[in-house]
């Protein structure tokens, strides 16, 4: 049953950077299923740009492990999706290839940075897609576009072939219209790979179960506080009420380290980015550097021209946060804050099985609304804690405010991705019934 899938979508929301008109596929559990792949995941023979001019025209000579797994499961890789440049944004507006629009309301952003993957799924161009999540980049666009998306436990999905932004935080994960499809795609990609030295051999082989009687659901007050649109909070509380109706018990919990989460996250991710993105110098890949100029002049000219403003801002912030005299105040403190937050979650998970709250504090922004960088960063406050703690977190649609989708976020213990999938599945089945 192997063959070729013809793919010529009406990409009116600019979800794709590259499409593959003739997508070959093999036999397997996903035989002939169209899957879109975020453009920071390497695909042999298919341009991979990270949404940046600095990788325009780059054709990877090898597949990321998740792409190898997709191909061998029979998936047809139909294109590479738009994203904030190098994943640095929450709106998909920092892409060098123009913003993606939200299929629910084209005057709104789809969220980011996996906004192209979310929009492609929400618009019905593909049933499922891969995204990556460094500080919420799967869950934010899933929430804003009204689809489901899972950030797996750190170490559950191979990062081999993922073009790195912040290694200690990011994971590749599945996005789809239903939790069941999220789980199916997760079963394909969560396989041990010795080439990612941060992986553990904990494959995901799970069929979602809607049986959640007795599940203890933690409700952190910090997720319903200042900055969270009360109507979003109310939608999420209603959704938690549905879980209670299915036999779950709610328990108040607290994550006091949340007050440091966002600052710690931005110090760590920019520090890692400043090191990771040093490799983009036009020597080994991407538009060529002018080799007649001197070393520093050549790099500075190329990087000024080819990197967007947000990427340059984050490289500079990270360079500063790691510089002599400041590293103790910023980077070292951020690492302590990170450990405190992880311990807060461990403490909470002694009392509860999962923790629930909103995915995003608001509904999707208007295009151009977040022009100030700090105000964009602040919108990540509810998603970054799961990345800092390395725990699994899923976003599942739970109603609308002003006609725009709201996401219910469910977080779990490390390597209990199955449990957060089950809780999200139970909710989804109940409200669809």
């Amino acid at each position: 049953m192997a063959g070729t899938l013809e793919f010529s979508p009406d990409d009116r929301y600019n979800a794709f950077i590259t499409t593959c008109r003739q997508a070959p596929f093999a036999d397997g559990p996903l035989a002939g299923t169209a899957v879109a792949v975020k453009d920071n995941i390497s695909t042999a023979g298919i341009q991979t740009t990270c949404g940046s001019r600095i990788l325009e025209g780059y054709i990877p000579p090898y597949d990321a492990y998740v792409v190898e797994l997709l191909r061998s499961s029979g998936a047809a890789i139909v294109g590479k999706t738009n994203m904030d440049e190098f994943g640095m944004g929450s709106t998909t507006e920092t892409s060098a290839f123009g913003p993606t629009r939200n299929p629910v309301d084209p005057g709104r952003v789809p969220g980011g940075s996996s906004g192209g993957s979310a929009a492609a799924v929400a618009a019905g161009l593909v049933p499922m897609a891969l995204g990556t999540d460094t500080g919420g980049s799967i869950r934010c666009p899933a929430a804003f576009c009204g689809i489901a998306g899972l950030k797996p436990t750190y170490g559950r999905v191979s990062r081999y072939g993922l073009i790195a932004y912040a290694n200690s935080l990011e994971q590749i994960g599945p996005m789809a219209r239903t939790v069941e499809d999220v789980s199916r795609l997760m079963s394909v990609i969560a396989r041990y790979d010795p080439r990612d030295s941060t992986m553990l051999d904990r494959p995901y082989d799970h069929r979602p179960s809607a049986e959640i009687k007795g599940l203890r659901v933690g409700i952190p007050e910090e997720y319903f506080g200042e900055g969270v649109d009360p109507r979003v909070g109310e939608s999420v509380r209603d959704a938690i009420g549905v879980l209670e109706g299915l036999g779950a018990k709610t328990v108040p919990v607290s994550i006091p380290g949340m007050r440091h989460a966002l600052a710690a996250y931005y110090v760590i991710c920019t520090s890692e980015a400043s090191s990771n993105l040093a490799r983009f110098d036009g020597v080994r890949y991407g538009p060529a550097v002018d080799t007649r100029k001197s070393w520093h002049e050549a790099y500075q000219d190329l990087r000024l021209e080819k990197f967007g403003t947000e990427v340059r801002r984050r490289i500079m912030l990270g360079t500063f946060a790691l510089s002599a005299g400041y590293a103790g105040r910023y980077y070292a403190k951020a690492q302590i804050a990170r450990r405190n937050i992880r311990e807060d979650f461990e403490r909470a998970f002694r009392e509860v099985d999962v923790i629930a709250g909103p995915t995003m504090p608001t509904v999707a922004f208007r295009l151009g609304e977040k022009s100030d960088p700090l105000s964009m960063y602040l919108s990540d406050i509810l998603t970054v804690p799961a990345n800092l703690a390395g725990i699994p977190a899923i976003s599942v649609p739970c109603g609308k405010v002003d006609g725009l989708p709201v996401g219910l976020q469910i977080m779990g213990r490390q390597f209990e991705d199955e449990r957060v999938v089950d809780a999200a599945y139970a909710y989804e089945q109940e409200v669809r019934a």
Partner: protein
């Protein structure tokens, strides 16, 4: 407080390139972000190595890698099978 000349210095350190007309906006945004980062001054706890974490080693075995042709395919400038870079001196 970060000054405009600090911003130019950081850009130089990062080899990132910055144009004169960007410097004022970068300076303002940097200061707003660093003000926000001040919350980290209130973090309690000492940095200590994580207990119970062990290294996972593997044998240093030769694995197939990219061919020279594949490795050079994306380079902007090559000569005699090598990648060409800007001059250092």
């Amino acid at each position: 407080m970060i000054t405009e000349s600090d911003i130019e210095h950081i850009a130089e350190l990062a080899d990132i390139g910055i144009s004169k007309d960007e410097v004022p906006a970068f300076t303002t945004q940097f200061n707003a972000i660093l003000d926000y980062f001040e919350v980290l001054d209130t973090v309690e706890g000492k940095s200590a190595p994580d207990a119970g974490i062990v290294n996972v080693f593997r044998d240093d075995e030769i694995q197939p890698g990219l061919s020279q042709e594949e490795a050079l395919a994306n380079a902007g400038s090559t000569e005699d099978g090598f990648i060409k870079a800007p001059r250092v001196m």
